[in-house]
């Protein structure tokens, strides 16, 4: 099997990986590097549980091949907290009780960080619209929206 070598900077760490070209970015993170924070809810771009930031933009890691991102900078949920200090969105998710089973949560948080960076969190309506790539079967949406509003308001 041919393998392609790439480097990825994930949460500040450099990784050099020799990958089967068909390996998705999600599988590279989860299976090869061992960062299991990004989840696989569908593996086909329909649920958002695999959302990570690639060069600052939110992407579905299941829907892109790792080899397409040679040299990219990737942020996963494991890279958000600063030691014991949680990222403000993580803290807001606790205060607003914005999760239940937690399976969608890493994706929700990364997506929300992307959303805030895009400047798309100016109203409840807009937050709902621009978070509509992330499913939550536990139905924590009202509190997810509230948590994002809190952080957007504080910025």
């Amino acid at each position: 099997m041919t393998r392609t070598e790439i480097t990825l900077s994930v949460n500040g760490c450099q990784h050099t990986l020799a990958l089967d070209p068909r390996v998705t970015l999600l599988d590279a993170l989860r299976e090869v590097i061992g960062l299991t924070g990004a989840k696989k809810g569908c593996d086909r771009g329909e649920c958002g549980t695999c959302t990570v930031l690639v060069d600052g933009r939110r992407v579905y890691a299941c829907l892109t091949l790792a080899v397409m991102h040679d040299g990219a900078t990737v942020t996963t949920v494991e890279g958000l907290a600063d030691g014991t200090d949680l990222h403000p969105l993580q803290q807001a998710f606790i205060s607003r009780d914005a999760l239940q089973c937690g399976f969608c949560t890493p994706g929700q948080i990364l997506s929300a960080i992307g959303l805030l960076a895009e400047g798309r969190a100016t109203s409840e309506q807009e937050i709902r619209e621009f978070m509509s790539g992330n499913l939550c079967r536990c139905g924590a949406y009202p509190n997810i929206v509230a948590a994002i509003r809190d952080v957007a308001g504080a910025q």
Binding site: Q100, T105, L135, P142
Partner: protein, 795 residues
């Protein structure tokens, strides 16, 4: 001071872990395990003529390919029927791998194991199965007509038939001043947790033992099944439910074929094997629920009081009945809701179809029953021109009638008796919350802008906390940690938090000292599972009872050491002390040392505790008979019967006059689940239920075509709501404690979903001005209904 934590909206202690990406779900474990993949039938009904695996054999990394022929005798039996019932005259369960007949698309035929999932799928693709397609049976109409049979030896496709009655409903209806007859339909939906199923098995050849991680709602049930089918001692099988990414009912089903096959393969191959269900597999191979066709006859008087109700329904239970007929039984017995029915008759037939099996999904038959009852009350109100809340109030069971015996046998085989509730007060609160009486003006104002609004409501009573039992173990370690465990598992309900609140309150310790483990057979072996809104009621009470015995023992041991009267003792902030004399005190961790006669001084606590040790009586054994070393207790809670929670939802919708889109503008919930352990968590559960209720009313349906192909087996086509579809939810709580259990609590897990379809149907009906008799309703459905009614009105 130790605060009273029971009842407080404390933050969930599981959150930080989950938010950091440190949650551990099955697929996050076992990175080096071999991977299993399945070849599944593309046909709904077929005979398997030949399985040719040769193409797969040269795939790099292949470890094994298994067909039915490879299974040992015990594994090659049909899977167990979990809950038999005399009315289920023709139960059928599937084989772990199809033997000769396929009964739904997605049934597993071949299991492939390879070094990783990519290779396992490569190999699975190269397996060639030859099928002889048979005519499939899809939908209740076809199944009832029985021109084709799902199982050749089940006449009429009828697996079960059951009648329950109180009084003589047909006679009461015949004699009533008014009578209505109508048909209602509800389509299929499914739990669809974001984490599908998953099993990871590790065989330890040196110890002859098996450890299995499964994304399940019942690890003890899975363990018993694996042990029996793989012929192992229970003690040699450990089953752990790690973090579970949602269950909503589908994961109470057990054992799944994969829960047997993956551990069996791990033992056979002598290596770790993991299977993670993919999304399409979950749609076609994990169970569904809901679909029913209901025929209602009701007789009532001029005031709208119901005199007799007769409901006959067909229940689609798919290809198999592994979980028995729990769902239609619950529909039958929960249908009366908060209403007094002087005469009630309910009859159902549970029919086979060539579709995925039907087992409970959050609500478990209740949404269907409530849909029938609430649509009935609304029809009565419309017929008599009365306010819908007024008709409800006239039929309510009143608080002074509690306990109220329905005269029916509930899902647990025991009489359905409402233990408490105040329905008139709940309704009053709901009307106030949504401003029911002010809606006429709201509607008129919207109409003036060309907008079409409607309001509706739905009421329900929900049997929760079903037995037979659950247990709890509380252990104060000599380091001061309070270790708590219970056997049932957690799928996001915040059990770690609420059980810690209970123990902290009962024992008088800081919550930070309490550590809770759920769903791990290594820690607690006897358990039933997480379903039927039972975890808080069952395990919560069991844990409270265990904590109370630990408290009693701690007080006794400390009183002995301090030469005080146990009645004068209290435990505050983890310290046992004499009331009013705080200097006479021993920390619990030292009491833990004292309660064990073996006191090696491994720790400072042990050294310090020896100063309290009374000289031992040489004529008595160090541990008196009947007592045990250590500060711990195991206790069980086993209720005589279920406790009944209730609630009422009101909803305001806007329907688009052109596109027939339905938008939920307001959603109000009054909920009564007895004493609240943690209002935040109850709210979260309600939000989740409401989201699924709205989904079931407006978006979700399993669309099978006439060939038994599931046309929408993806999140692109099966429309689960996103943040854009779930409204803000306004809630109010009434707390009528249950007299049945020590904590006075009732279950809350399923509540939110139950009246969703009924309330939304009522609101759409109110906006549109013609009856809504089925759910779900897409804009397309509503558009057609509109046209039909316009044509009817014109002709």
């Amino acid at each position: 001071m130790t605060t009273q934590l029971f009842g407080q909206p404390v933050e969930r202690r599981e959150d930080p872990r989950l938010l950091r990406g440190e949650g551990r779900y099955v697929d996050d474990l076992g990175r080096s395990a071999a991977a299993a993949a399945f070849v599944r039938s593309p046909h709904a009904h077929a005979r398997v003529l030949d399985v040719d695996v040769t193409g797969a054999l040269n795939v790099d990394g292949l470890l094994a390919v298994y067909t039915f022929e490879d299974l040992p005798e015990r594994v090659a039996q049909p899977l167990p029927l979990l809950i038999p019932h005399p009315a289920l005259t023709h139960p059928r369960t599937q084989y772990a791998l199809a033997r000769d007949e396929i009964n739904h698309v997605g049934e597993a035929v071949v299991m492939v194991v390879a070094t990783d999932r990519y290779r396992a799928e490569d190999a699975a693709e190269r397996v060639a199965v030859t099928y002889e397609p048979l005519a499939p049976v899809v939908g209740l109409e076809q199944s009832e007509a029985a021109r084709t049979l799902v199982h050749a030896d089940v006449p009429g496709n009828r697996g079960a038939h059951m009648v329950q009655q109180v009084g003589d409903a047909p006679a009461a209806i015949a004699a009533a001043p008014h009578r209505l007859d109508f048909r209602l339909d509800i389509e299929r939906s499914a739990s669809t947790p974001l984490e599908g199923r998953g099993v990871y098995a590790r065989w330890d050849a040196q110890d002859d033992s098996l450890r299995v991680y499964s994304s399940t709602q019942t690890p003890t049930g899975v363990r018993a099944a694996i042990a029996a089918i793989l012929e192992l001692a229970d003690a040699k099988v450990e089953v752990i439910a790690p973090d579970v990414g949602g269950g909503f009912g589908v994961k109470i089903m057990h054992p799944w074929p994969e829960e047997i096959l993956v551990p069996w393969a791990a033992r056979t191959l002598g290596r770790e094997v993991k299977w993670t269900e993919d999304r399409r597999e979950h749609f076609v191979a994990a169970n569904h629920e809901r679909a029913q066709e209901q025929h209602v006859s009701v007789g009532f008087d001029d005031e709208g009081r119901i005199l007799g109700l007769d409901v006959t329904f067909l229940h689609d239970h798919g290809a198999y009945t592994p979980y028995g007929i729990i769902v239609p039984i619950i529909t039958s017995t929960q249908l009366p809701g908060p209403y007094r029915l002087p005469a009630y008759r309910v009859e159902f037939s549970s029919l086979y179809t060539n579709t995925v099996a039907v087992t409970p999904y959050r609500g478990a038959g209740r949404p269907q029953g409530v849909f029938a009852m609430e649509r009935t009350v609304d029809r009565i109100a419309a017929h008599l021109g009365l306010d819908r809340t007024e008709v409800r109030a006239r039929n309510f069971v009143l608080p002074d009638e509690m306990p109220y015996d329905l005269g029916l046998i509930f899902q647990d085989g025991r009489p359905a008796i409402y233990d408490s509730g105040d329905f008139p007060e709940s309704l009053r609160m709901l009307k106030e919350l949504i401003d029911w009486d002010g809606f006429t003006a709201v509607r008129a104002a919207a109409a003036a802008e060309g907008r079409r609004l409607g309001i509706g409501l739905g009421c329900y009573v929900e049997g929760t906390g079903v037995g037979p039992y659950e247990g709890g173990h509380v252990h104060v370690e000599t380091n001061g940690r309070v270790m708590v465990s219970t056997g049932l598992s957690t799928q996001g309900q915040g059990h770690e938090t609420v059980f810690a609140q209970i123990v902290a309150t009962e024992l008088g310790v800081p919550m930070a000292d309490v550590h809770v483990t759920t769903g791990d057979t290594r820690r607690f072996g006897y358990a039933v599972g997480t379903f039927a809104s039972r975890a808080a009621v069952m395990s919560g009470n069991a844990i409270a009872l265990a904590a109370r015995s630990v408290r009693a023992k701690a007080v006794k041991v400390a009183a002995d050491a301090l030469e005080a009267n146990p009645d004068d003792m209290e435990i505050v902030d983890g310290v046992v002390r004499v009331k009013g004399s705080p200097a006479d005190a021993i920390p619990l961790r030292q009491v833990a040392v004292l309660s064990n006669p073996l006191r090696y001084s491994f720790s400072e606590e042990a050294k310090a505790a020896t100063q309290f040790a009374a000289p031992a009586d040489p004529d008595e054994p160090p541990i008196p008979r009947g007592e045990a070393p250590g500060l711990e207790s195991r206790d069980y809670y086993s209720p005589i019967r279920s406790t009944f929670a209730n609630g009422m939802h009101a909803v305001i919708v806007e329907v688009d006059p052109d596109t027939a889109e339905v938008k939920v503008l307001r959603y109000a919930v009054v909920h009564d689940c007895g004493n609240l352990i943690n209002p935040r968590i109850v709210e979260g559960q309600i939000h989740g239920g409401v989201a699924q209720g709205v989904a079931g009313a407006l978006y979700e349906r399993m669309a099978y075509d006439e060939h038994g192909q599931l046309l929408n087996a993806s999140f692109m086509d099966f429309l689960m709501p996103y943040a854009t579809e779930v409204p803000r939810i306004e809630t109010a709580h009434l707390q009528t404690p249950s007299p049945l259990n020590p904590l006075g609590i009732k279950g809350a897990g399923e509540a939110g979903v139950i009246p969703g379809a009924a309330a939304i149907a009522a609101a759409i009906e109110d906006a549109e001005g013609y009856p809504i008799m089925r759910m779900p309703l897409s804009p397309d459905d509503l558009f057609r209904l509109r046209r039909e009614h316009a044509e009817e009105a014109a002709s």
